[in-house]
């Protein structure tokens, strides 16, 4: 078999695990302000891990696509350090805060520009807007077989075989490639990348291509912003926490008493 071409769609977002105290909401500008470094959205890291595992079994080339108003290549170069072969940034003012349909349209345009593909992997949902749509819409636009919520992905003679999560177990499904698969966290964490490897990739001379809306030839009417009418802070979840004091034994005793009272 010739080299398998895998595309991984990875979005750059502010760290979704930032402590609550570093997140605020601008109700006028309709923005969530996160005082945290940019990262790759976690499920997209799972998708990349799935791709790298396939590459360990089969001859494969992994291309990472990341779209945004401005994408940091320092953040995204991590994908190269982890085992991706190519990284393409899709950057344009017009790509800011796109809705799911438009994001998928722009990604589809980029994918059509590539030299063919067999498998497209996306995360199940991005950690900034928690939408969970771009992957499946992209699959529909490209008229591909779509498989959602993968927990394991294997390649078998021109087909992709996926264990897809169900509420009470899983389903093993199979589709001819090219196909699109959305990836869930059961696939496993992105492998550990050593500091040296990471630094080498970040400081490396390798230039990362960047395509804009003109390069992709997506018409302006396909680039719609998310239609946000209002944005607010959630209700306060805080409670008064009573901390147990004393030796381990005393703390255990106090906690046991709490259970007794609740029983």
């Amino acid at each position: 078999m010739t080299e398998l071409k895998i595309i991984v769609c990875a979005k750059q977002i502010p760290d979704p695990e930032a402590p609550l105290s570093d997140v605020s909401v601008d109700t006028v500008k309709l923005e969530v302000l996160v005082d945290a470094p940019q990262v790759i959205s976690p499920f997209d890291e799972n998708a990349l891990e799935a791709a790298v595992r396939i590459k360990e079994e089969t001859e494969a080339k992994i291309t990472v696509l990341s779209l945004g108003r401005k994408v940091s290549d320092t953040v995204l170069r991590k994908t190269l350090a982890a085992g991706a072969d190519e990284l393409i940034l899709l950057e344009d003012e017009a790509f800011e805060k796109l809705d799911s349909y438009s994001t998928a349209a722009a990604l589809a345009a980029a994918i059509r520009k590539l030299d063919g593909y067999d498998l497209i992997l996306t995360g199940r949902q991005a950690g900034d807007w928690d939408s969970g749509q771009v992957g499946l819409i992209l699959g529909e636009m490209l008229e591909l077989p779509c498989i959602s919520l993968a927990r394991e992905i294997r390649i078998e003679e021109g087909s992709v075989v996926v264990k897809k999560s169900l509420p009470d177990g899983y389903e093993r499904v199979k589709a001819r490639m090219p196909a699109l698969v959305t990836v869930s966290n059961e696939v496993g964490e992105l492998r550990y990348i050593s500091r040296t490897k990471m630094l080498k990739m970040i400081q490396g001379a390798r230039s990362i291509p960047s395509w804009d809306a003109g390069d992709l030839r997506v018409p302006q009417e396909f680039l719609n912003k998310m239609a946000i009418a209002a944005l607010s802070s959630p209700p306060d979840m805080g409670r008064d926490c009573q901390l147990m004091e004393g030796s381990i034994e005393e703390k255990a005793e106090k906690l046991a008493a709490v259970f007794k009272a609740l029983r």
Binding site: V25, D128, D130, E140, S148, V173, G188, L262
Partner: protein, 329 residues
Amino acid sequence: MNDVLILGKVKEEALDPRTLELLSAGKRLAGGKGGGFSLLLMGDEVSAQADEAASHGPDKVYKLEHSLLRGFKPDLWLAALEQACRQINPRILLMSHDFVGMELGPRLACRLHTRLTTDCIALSIDSESGLLLRTKPVSGGNAISVFKCPGEPQMATVRAKVFDPSEPGAAKGEIVEIRPKIDESMIKVESLEVVREDVVALDKAEVVVAGGAGLGEADGFELLEELAEALRKSFSNVMIGCSRVAVDKGWISSDHQVGLTGTMISPDIYIAVGISGAIQHLVGMTHSKKIIAINTDPACNMFKVADYGIIEDYEEIIPALIEKLEEVS
């Protein structure tokens, strides 16, 4: 007049509780606009459930039956649903944010060239534009956003348990049959096997002992199980929960995961062991009646939402706690 259409679902031979919640959401939306609401049921045999649904007062219950629709086969269900939508032509289409809605929603929205908002917790109609206002937690739950999108049908998937289930009444809706044109050639993704696993019904738990990355290793869950066992002497339905990181690390299966992309629960007691309290975890458990946090980091988020806290290494405190619980009982 078909204002609001609800995609219902059958579970264990009856209407899924989620469908009853959608029925009350749909009823309220339609009522506010003086329009009607209808229900669509798909499957190989849904007549009994269609009759059941008729008593919840929809204008119509659309019954879409086909032998190929036995079990959820996304490609066929999508094709049939698309045909039904083109025929019924609803202004608003609601589905549950479950494995069916999460898959069909985005794909159908693309085919119908409209916009979907997922995982909504409130819905209303904008009086000016007549558009659906779709309220949805974003950024894990750090913010609540209201979306107002153009296009028809106005589509949303709805989070479980945010609407009270509808009660059957006297009004009887008309049952209308829809015949889908589907065949096996539409299947692009072939099902090889469905494997049912013993999964924990976390939403039925009274007490949840949950572990996270702080356990450091899979064996940590054995200690949590010992704690659960000790608690079973005083409480019923004590179950093990976990954070996403524990699943990612392969320590425990994902049916135990609590949170945004796991199960959202509100047990009587939630014990968070070695879980930092990221927002995506918190949204799944902060409605618990009592929250107990065990963590080595005094600054962690979990203490901010807990009623009781112990700053201690779990490997030290849990064995001591088990001992005390045995003494008390």
